[in-house]
């Protein structure tokens, strides 16, 4: 059984503003009968002020569809049309103290009915680009259509990519098999095959920063730790940056001692915070060798 909030239950058991509204001058019919949820929203709008004097609904749907409809009518009564249009589906869900992920589409439907009813009142044509797919990721309420579209639009090729772009898969990870299946399908469309273990786009090419900017940032971080190193009689120098691997050389008292590893760890942490991405800091061969001799 769904974990409905008390507020949802209350609006389901005692729906407000249910039934036909006589004299309605804005009506929106939206929903999908195949999915089992559809709603007619009826508005009575005062022409001079654009204020919604009354709002009623009729709903073919489940408990949360009825509750969302009821909540919506309560939320928009007394508002002007423009104010009412600011109500988002999240607002509807919040008004009801939340909806289960499988049921978030009920609040989306409420929001769309509102747009349709306002368009109808204004004599405009309302068309909807909304397409709903099967729920794939329950942790974040992301459906298959959304994942497919995102993979297509951004040429994604790993589960990690999908998580970075849509959040899907970022929680319990039980939906990874489902996400992989979608990747297989969409990648086949563009003539590629899905390979598990493909590095994500983020790893391959950090977004939002040119290489130069990135290197300057890295230098700045190293600069900031240099005084401390110098105090201990050592120094650090940037040698190269290759993707997420940063090569440095440690000199002076730091090089090769056991402290080197600890120091490097600290610097790596700092770099990650600054660059907002995962990086690996690697001391040069010379450093690595001398460290090895340290342990003998």
């Amino acid at each position: 059984m769904w974990d409905y909030s008390d507020k949802v239950k209350e609006h389901f058991f005692q729906p407000r503003n249910a039934g036909v509204l006589e004299g309605a001058n804005g009506v929106g019919d939206v929903g999908s009968i195949s999915c089992g949820d559809a709603l007619r929203l009826m508005l009575k709008v005062e022409p001079e002020t654009d204020i919604i004097l009354d709002a009623h609904f009729q709903t073919f749907g489940c408990g949360s569809a009825i509750a969302s409809s009821s909540a919506l009518t309560e939320m928009i009564k007394g508002k002007t049309l423009d104010e009412a249009l600011k109500v988002s589906n999240q607002d509807i869900a919040d008004y009801l103290d939340g909806l289960p992920p499988e049921k978030m589409h009920c609040s989306v439907m409420g929001r769309e009915a509102l747009q349709a009813a306002v368009a109808n009142y204004r004599g405009e044509e309302w068309s909807d680009d909304h397409e709903e797919g099967a729920l794939v990721c329950k942790c974040f309420a992301i459906d298959a259509v959304m994942i497919e579209d995102t993979i297509r639009a951004n040429d994604l090729s790993s589960v990690q990519d999908v998580t970075n772009y849509t959040k899907a898969g970022g929680g319990c990870s039980s939906c990874h098999e489902g996400i992989e299946e979608i990747l297989v399908k969409v990648m086949a469309e563009r003539g590629e095959s899905f390979k598990p273990g493909t590095p994500s786009k983020e790893e391959a090419k950090p977004a939002g920063m040119t290489n130069l900017q990135r290197i300057r940032k890295i230098e700045a971080v190293l600069e900031s730790v240099r005084p401390q190193l110098k105090r201990d009689g050592g120094d650090i120098e940037l040698l190269d940056v290759d993707g997420k691997t940063i090569y440095v050389s440690m000199t002076g008292a730091c090089a090769g001692c056991q402290m080197e590893a600890l120091t490097l760890q600290g610097i790596q942490q700092k770099l990650m915070e600054e660059l907002k991405e995962f990086i690996k800091i690697v001391p040069t061969k010379a450093g690595a060798l001398s460290r090895a001799s340290c342990h003998v």
């Binding site: 389901f12 999915c35 089992g36 489940c62 909807d128």
Partner: protein, 402 residues
């Protein structure tokens, strides 16, 4: 009254006598039946007894044909995967569009591995076309898996006859009989059924125990390999308490068989007639002339099933629905869709499934409550207008992106 439970096809209450039979095996008789001491020995004997009780209920020829598993789903998976492994030259499966997900999801997964799965269609009453079936059977058919009775409508499939046909074609025949066992007299020794799945919790035994019936001589490849339990056909330490419980439940089901088919059927018929008489635009789905004695599936047009269940629950009545929302999917029940029930009715289907514990008073109460609930929800429905559906309901309400 502490609530009316009319959802016995989902799961059943464990009979108190079953619990009593189980209890000693938690604390006093806790031994491992494989052990070489008297702690284990007594438990081994108890399992032997349970095996014979189940054998009796199924009408199996040998008690060694009974393999205890963890549930119906495990039995289904074991049966089908075994049939494929044992006959690698055969690459096709025949099943139906209305099977339980335990079969359909597995088949969809096998399709990805290159197996060809044929899904037999059903007509408006949920019946198969045996001519279609005969045409599909051939030397490529590894296994046929057809349920004995449908879980949503209770409709029977002619599995005994279908098993004969499969046998003649050299294919194995499996049936998911989790809904039928305990409600239908079985005599497997006189059939050509090779494998059959049982689920304990559908017949007043606990959850977490099932049976795979495997006819002697049928080639078998175990799913779980390891110890020698169940003669090496299902490794893993036996769930002794639940097996003992299932044995007891099987014995009791045997005794109650006549009652299920007379008294329970009478109550079901009364419930169904009572509701249909009082609720306009409602109808029975499936085949009322050939179905389980305890099941009634009624479609209430123009409203949605989850909403019906929530209101029933408020009155302490438990049932289930084929609506999309109750399962969190985008489509109403695949069984209703397969029978061609329109969306406006498929979402409003409610399954009432009784048991031998259901009473006349409960039936009367449900008959009294249901019409009110339906009327209340129809008042909210855009397809409804006053006392009846809007004239031409599909035109009166045609939402965007329907």
């Amino acid at each position: 009254m502490t609530g009316i439970y009319f959802d016995n096809n989902a799961t059943t209450r464990v009979d108190p006598a079953v619990v009593e039979a189980m209890l000693p095996y938690f604390t006093e008789q806790f031994g491992n039946p494989s052990s070489m001491h008297s702690f284990g020995n007594k438990v081994g004997l108890a399992i032997k007894k349970a095996r014979m009780q189940v054998q009796e209920l199924l009408g199996a020829e040998h008690d060694s044909e009974i393999i205890f598993t963890s549930c119906g789903t495990e039995s289904d998976s074991t049966a089908i995967l075994s049939a494929l492994k044992a006959q690698p030259e055969r690459k096709e499966i025949i099943t139906t569009t209305v099977e339980h997900p335990a079969i359909l999801t597995l088949c969809a997964w096998l399709e990805k591995d290159g197996y060809k799965v044929h899904y037999l269609k059903v007509d408006g009453k949920g019946r198969l076309d045996l001519d279609e079936y005969k045409k599909l059977l051939g030397d490529q058919t590894a296994v046929v898996s057809v349920m004995w009775a449908n879980n949503e409508t209770g409709t029977f499939f002619p599995v005994v006859e279908m098993a004969e046909l499969a046998n003649a074609a050299g294919a194995m025949f499996h049936t998911d009989a989790v809904q039928a066992v305990g409600k239908v007299p079985l005599n497997l020794k006189d059939t050509k059924i090779d494998m059959l799945s049982v689920s304990g919790h559908k017949l007043h035994a606990p959850k977490g125990v099932g049976v795979l019936y495997l006819k002697r001589g049928v080639r078998f490849r175990p799913l779980l390999r390891g110890g020698h339990q169940e003669r090496g056909r299902r490794a893993g330490t036996e769930n002794t308490t639940s097996i003992v419980g299932l044995g007891k439940a099987a014995e009791m089901a045997m005794e109650a068989m006549a009652f299920e088919n007379t008294e329970v059927a009478r109550l079901r018929d009364k419930l169904e007639a009572g509701i249909l008489a009082k609720v306009p635009r409602s109808f029975v789905t499936g085949n009322p002339d050939d179905r389980l004695p305890n099941t009634s599936n009624i479609a209430f047009e123009f409203i949605e099933g989850e909403a019906i269940l929530l209101l029933l629950n408020k009155f302490g009545i438990a049932a289930s629905s084929g609506s999309a929302c109750t399962s969190g999917s985008l489509e109403p029940s695949h069984v209703m869709r397969a029978m061609g029930i329109p969306y406006t009715a498929a979402h409003g289907t409610v399954r009432f499934s009784l048991s031998r514990y259901s009473t006349e008073a409960e039936v009367d109460r449900v008959i009294a409550v249901v019409p009110e609930i339906i009327a209340q929800l129809r008042k909210l429905s855009p397809y409804w207008d006053g006392d009846g559906p809007a004239a031409e309901p599909e035109k009166a309400f045609a939402p965007t992106y329907a």
